[in-house]
């Protein structure tokens, strides 16, 4: 088999056309690397800007002494700028390295362990939600009648604020989930909430993805007299991947939100959500710790988003479509 280089002087016009295309693709790959570097740099710059803005606003508020006067905007529409409401950036970040009273670990390590706990809840819920969501998508894609009848309820289900009834779910779980071979634990109830938030984008986008193959691709499979499962595995599922990943990015984030909020309202100990609630109670003695713990949740959210994005790059490669939910 001749290598690409030795074929350079081919007279096949198609191959020549391909060469040009290949060069463009190479440039595109190089651009992609540049883009990642640039985005990382912008993110850092953005964080710096945000910190600068925060500090600047605080300094401005302090200078005009917002506590003493009733200013129209500063300290009323926008927050007050004293150290209790807006602890200095340096103290928020400094908090990460400190050891809170009654603890034997530095704060960032505590947050890290709790983030792992929350991540476990979210991940368990995410995986179950993924399976349920795909099952619904498959069923709806298979039976049009079902799609017409059920899809509105799948959408309506998301307007039910299940997060807010997290305590009910925990109680419910303790009482009723003894059908499972394992012992039901409270954190699993939090996972149920993550599942509830995950299945929806997966079901809706999964359905769109399963329906996305073009008519000629479906006809092709039909012309091979391909079976339902052959068409599913070889055409519908691969075609749905770009749509599915758009949903997974949303779902991953939502599962973290579900886990954090679920912990708070369900009173489950050990995770980041509970940490935030505790720091909110102790606000007056350590506002910087509350800010630091909220930052921890932000990092966790962005982390799972980046993980899904990375998996998408690996699985789908460059053929990602822009699809919005």
């Amino acid at each position: 088999m001749p290598s690409t280089d030795t074929m350079a002087d081919t007279d096949d016009p198609l191959v020549r056309e391909h060469r040009i295309k290949q060069q463009a693709a190479q440039e595109q790959r190089r651009d992609a690397v540049v883009r990642v570097v640039r985005q990382t740099v912008t993110f850092v710059v953005f964080l710096g800007l945000l910190a600068g803005l925060y500090t600047g606003y605080k300094a401005f508020g302090q200078a005009i002494d917002d506590r003493q006067h009733d200013w129209a905007v500063v300290g009323s529409v926008l927050p007050r700028t004293d150290d209790l409401n807006m602890p200095p950036v340096s103290e928020i970040f400094g908090q990460f390295g400190e050891t809170p009273g009654g603890q034997d670990q530095i704060y960032v390590k505590i947050l890290f362990d709790e983030a792992l706990f929350t991540l476990r809840e979210a991940f368990a819920g995410f995986m179950v939600g993924l399976v349920i969501g795909m099952a619904i998508a498959l069923a709806l894609a298979q039976w049009r009648r079902l799609e017409q009848g059920l899809l509105p309820y799948v959408i309506a289900s998301q307007t039910i604020p299940l997060i807010a009834i997290a305590p009910i779910i925990v109680i419910w779980g303790r009482k009723n989930f003894d059908v499972f071979p394992w012992e039901w634990q409270d954190w699993m109830s939090v996972s149920v909430i993550a599942t509830y938030l995950t299945f929806f984008p997966v079901a809706v986008n999964g359905l769109r993805g399963l329906q996305s193959p073009r008519p000629e691709n479906k006809e092709l499979m039909e012309s091979y007299a391909a079976s339902w499962s052959q068409t599913l595995w070889r055409l519908r599922l691969p075609a749905s991947l770009p749509y599915l990943f758009a949903a997974l990015k949303i779902a991953a984030t939502a599962s973290i939100v579900g886990a954090v909020v679920g912990e708070i309202s369900a009173g489950v100990e050990g995770g980041l959500g509970r940490r935030i609630l505790r720091e909110a109670f102790n606000y007056t003695t350590g506002p910087d710790r509350l800010f630091a713990s909220v930052l921890g949740a932000a990092v966790l959210g962005i982390f799972v988003f980046l993980v899904v994005t990375a998996v998408e790059r690996l699985v789908v490669g460059n053929q990602t479509q822009e699809s919005t939910t």
Binding site: S3, P13, L14, E17, K21, E219, S223, Y224, R234, A239
Partner: protein, 273 residues
Amino acid sequence: MSEVPSMDEAVSSGQGAPPLVIDIRGATKVFNPGKSNQVEALDEIDLSVGPGEFITLIGPSGCGKSTLLRLVASLIPPSTGTVQVNAKPAEQARLDRDYGMAFQTAGLFDWRTVTKNIELPLELMGWSRGARRRRAAEMLELVKLSEFANHHPSELSGGMQQRVAIARALSFSPSLLLMDEPFGALDEMTREHMQDELLRIWKETETTVVFVTHSIPEAVYLSTQVVVMSPRPGGIASVIDVDLGDRNASTRDDPAFFTKVTEVRTALRKVEE
């Protein structure tokens, strides 16, 4: 090409029986029958195609060329009449995988490499991995794309993608190749190049081809028979035999070629009136 044992039954259209690959009798097609948007797409079609023929369906928009092709492919059933492929109902021919199809867009699966795309029908038919690999390599050689075996379709030009689609359609040595305006989206130079490629492959594989096109020169250049179709409802206006011998670079400048082009054009004009 012919050393694939499992395909032998499917290819054997001529075991002494009348060697008709396609036999359509009194086929009609009505879409949405009984509804307000009822469309009579095809009316009383009779058509027979022998083995090794290259048939082109040509006609104005809405004459039902693609519908007729899909009737043969058994992708849609006829409203009345019969469609037989290899002396059995078209549905059975589809289940027996008697034909390969190519569409206007190459319709390759983006997530599969070129090789894996060609292997797709073989996978569905349960070929072993080794046999698939061997056959895909043969097909790639046939369409002169061996060096692109592991590329993804998005890395190929439009003409190359169409070649892969043809290789895919032919990979399991079907006795019949159905093509729906496969070169419609290509530029003129690439198109002529692909026509020569297709004729070469047709001769090498001795497949029967049904080819839908809008282009009169393309129809004349490729076919042994041009079927001119009339619109509303779709029907066969005339069948023009083309006997230009082996095509080569000078065929397109041959007076006989132009005579045939004019003949087809005249037939089409009549249809439009």
